[in-house]
């Protein structure tokens, strides 16, 4: 069994007196589809922030491809191959929708592959990415003109533009219709087919169930379950803490 892509060991984070994360152990293998679920406030986004460097974990370590990430700023982690979407969309409002995608294309992709992409190539790739989520018609518009749902799609596709090895999708499906959820799942499966590991954070259980090879459950900052979807869903502590609600 090859070494995991992402290794989270004993990671802890507190805000003043509040313990957001406690002794989290989690591994993600290459090409794996991991679902991360838990009630609101359980620490899922905090964990994502610690993995990606937006926050610094106080205890424990995070390793990506065997390399320790502690102290590394967020942009360098993105260069290494980590990408995430934000739970509450954070588009660059001074730039057009298409230009939002140019940023990771310029700064993340180029760094890794030492390519300078020509303006035409940048344009082509950003339109291509927008087309994957049906936003190509709004390429020249301001992100402020997008609906909440469209902004989440932009978040997802902006994370994809960084050509990551591990993509963390934080509640991208909120507010989507049944068929839109299907589309996103297909898109993510397609990415996974290219070898990209995916951590899916969602409340929409059927999406998580159908998509994930493995599910981890976070409750009150602790991981209470980690295993195959069927096992986790039938785990009594998971049911009482989260699913039974």
């Amino acid at each position: 069994m090859s070494a995991p892509l992402l290794e989270i060991k004993s990671v802890g984070k507190r805000f003043g007196g509040f313990v957001a994360l406690e002794a989290i152990n989690l591994d993600v293998a290459r090409g794996e589809r991991l679902g991360l679920i838990g009630p609101n406030g359980s620490g899922k986004s905090t964990l994502v922030n610690c993995i990606c460097g937006t926050l610094n974990n106080e205890t424990g370590t995070v390793h990506f491809e065997g390399r320790a990430l502690d102290g590394l700023p967020a942009n360098q982690r993105t260069h290494l191959g980590l990408a995430r979407s934000f739970q509450l969309p954070r588009p660059f409002t001074s730039l057009s929708v298409a230009d939002n995608l140019r940023i990771p294309l310029i700064y993340a992709v180029r760094r890794r592959s030492q390519l300078i992409l020509s303006p035409q190539e940048l344009e082509r790739r950003s339109l291509e990415l927008l087309a994957m989520v049906g936003l190509e018609a709004k390429a020249r518009r301001s992100p402020r003109d997008l609906s909440q749902v469209e902004m989440r799609k932009l978040e997802l596709v902006r994370a994809m533009a960084a050509e990551p090895k591990l993509l963390i999708a934080d509640e991208v499906m909120a507010g989507l219709s049944h068929s839109e959820v299907e589309d996103i799942i297909q898109l993510l499966l397609q990415l996974n087919g290219q070898g990209i590991s995916i951590i899916l954070i969602e409340h929409i259980m059927r999406a998580v169930m159908s998509f994930s090879q493995r599910i981890a459950v976070l409750v009150s900052g602790r991981k209470i379950a980690d295993g195959k979807p069927d096992e986790v869903v039938n785990n009594p502590s998971v049911v009482s803490a989260y699913l039974g609600q």
């Binding site: 937006t54 967020a74 942009n75 260069h79 660059f92 409002t93 001074s94 730039l95 230009d99 700064y107």
Partner: protein
Amino acid sequence: MRSWLFFFVALAVGALIFAIALLIRSDYLFFAGYVVLQFVVLATAWNILGGYCGYVNFGSAAFFAIGVYTSVALAKLGANPGRYLPEFLATGLKPLLPLPILAMQFFAGLIAGLIGLGMGYLTLRLRGVFFAIATLAMAVVLQTLIINWDFVGGARGAYIVRPASIALGPISIGYIEYLFLIMLVLAVVALTVARLIERSRLGYGFATIRDDELAAEACGVPTLRLKLIATTISGAFMGMAGAPFPYYIGYVEPAATFGLPYAVNSIAMPMIGGTTSWPGPLLGAVLLGSLQQIATVTISSAVNLLIVGVLLVGFVVIAPKGILGLIEDWRHARGKP
């Protein structure tokens, strides 16, 4: 329009302005014009860090003063090299001294840029708020240092003699006209650089820092490096704007040089004119600068400052995107049904 074309067009406009001013033959015009041009440079420089990146620098006076006192120090050194330098250095440099203003400007820009880089390195990793506060504190500290440094006159101040005229090749023009010309060229350079940055990848990077720094980092933008670049360029231009000042005014002393007017104007002019693009600081500087020149003569200078402060607060509260923003919104409203 490509940047070099813009540069030459702007230079041509500047030459025209200079020619007209020469024809009108008013000394006052050159004096007042110098101040307005100086503010164009300061406002544009401030905006590179403040408007493009969103990091507020309250210490513009400090960078300006670095330029001022670099000139003073070099002038004093040039007047009497034997006294301050070791023998061989003094004799070796003698033909070069006293340094021409342009050389002083170069050194001023270099030193101010380095100090901007250093200060940025210490404080830019933290939230923008702390950078802003640090710039304010730095201004106070620098003032303290200058007050205690007798070589440049300390608290008593320093006198710099302004030559009557200068020979530019075959022509000889008055010194004040020469200073005006220098500042005009500097303004053109500053505007060209600002415009160049705006349209480049660097400018995109700056915009992401301003819009959402956390998201920018998540997208791989090297935010610290970009902010350091902005701080260095901004500081350097402010220093260069300060370099000719001792010759313009004849007597410099710390209280006035570090005075709040420079800090407030550097912020007020871009915020009133518009912070997102290069015409904003230009507009703000020309409008506000001219207004102040007129007001200082007609009302007192303190009331004049009060007006600037009130305008700043007014615009920040009511029209945050400045005059440019108001124009844009008006056009937007008319354009779309």
